[in-house]
């Protein structure tokens, strides 16, 4: 017996369409917010600069201990160098997703990635 599409009635097509739309909507809703488009750099609790991730650059931010160097590369950001003693923020590495944040407490410098929607206050690992 040939397997044909004649078994599908008009309402079935509608259900199929609605199901597809629902799935696409789920994906659009639940998978967005992952991509970040700008980095917010703070120093001493105040916003020092907001830079887009689209352009690769290195920014030097002054703090009480000295200069923190923030590197933006390939739509990612990291603190490349920092005078803080334990280097936590440097060792955190590249920030990729919106909501990720890297903080150098001793030098009072932080970098946070922002996307379309703020999903978390912070992400820690």
């Amino acid at each position: 017996m040939p397997f044909s599409l004649t078994h599908i009635k008009i309402g079935d097509w509608i259900t199929l369409l609605l199901g597809s739309l629902f799935t696409v909507w789920l994906a659009a809703t639940l998978w967005q917010g992952g991509a970040a488009d700008k980095a917010v750099i703070r120093s001493g609790g105040k916003i020092f600069r907001e830079v887009p991730l689209s352009r690769d650059q290195i920014i030097e931010v002054p703090g009480p201990l000295g200069l923190s160097r923030i590197s933006i590369h390939n739509r990612q950001a990291r603190i490349a160098a920092d005078p803080s003693p334990r280097q936590y923020c440097v060792r955190q590495g590249w920030l990729k997703q919106a909501g990720e944040i890297s903080i150098c407490l001793p030098n009072q410098v932080s970098v946070e990635l922002n996307g379309g929607r703020k999903r978390y206050d912070s992400l820690t690992y």
Binding site: H7, I8, I10, G11, L16, F22, T23, A27, L30, W31
Partner: protein, 236 residues
Amino acid sequence: MAENAMTALLTENQGQGSHPQGVGRAVPVAEATTATHRGKGQTTLDSASSITLATTAADHHVARMAALALGLSVLEAAIPSPLPGVKPGLANIVTLIVLARYGWRTAAWVSLLRVLAGGLLMGNFLAPGFFLSLSGALCSLAVLAASQHLPQRWFGPVTHSIFAAFAHIAGQLLLVYFWLIPHVGLLYLVPIFAAASLLFGTVNGLIAAHYLDAQKRDWVNITTAIQPRINTDVHG
């Protein structure tokens, strides 16, 4: 009816030949129920002093369908899956056919018996996997109870199957979230599960519709249409 159908399921080999009236005839659910009530208390001791439960043809019919569904779920347990939980759900084809032919009550019996016997057979009875199957089956049945009232002129097994598949995965995910993994990271997997539900729901619905249409054409009873296939599978 539960014990009877279960007994019928377990003693299917012996019972097959002795209930010719169960083959080739659809037994209405109401009749099946009254027959069961009449059958209650007929537990007798025979000469070998073993306990025999009186089972009706309807019980055997339900058991046969559940056994078929069980066979399909064992079959698909052998298929490797890229993501735990993404399975074709072939057993639901049987549920859909039974729903279309014999109504929701019989479909519920077949589906739940399959979950119970499947748990025993796969060795995960009362383990998390069993409860995941159960919650999925219960949600599917709840949605099918509503969707079966859609006008038959426009909506066929494909619609029921898609709705049931979505309900199935929704039920499982809810149980996973509230019991096993209470973490929002689960949300990242939801679109994948939804896409799989849509795909397999459609395919299962098409297969069920294919069988039902073929039967409508040939005026063949579901039992005779599917039963020989079991025998060929089992005996070679």
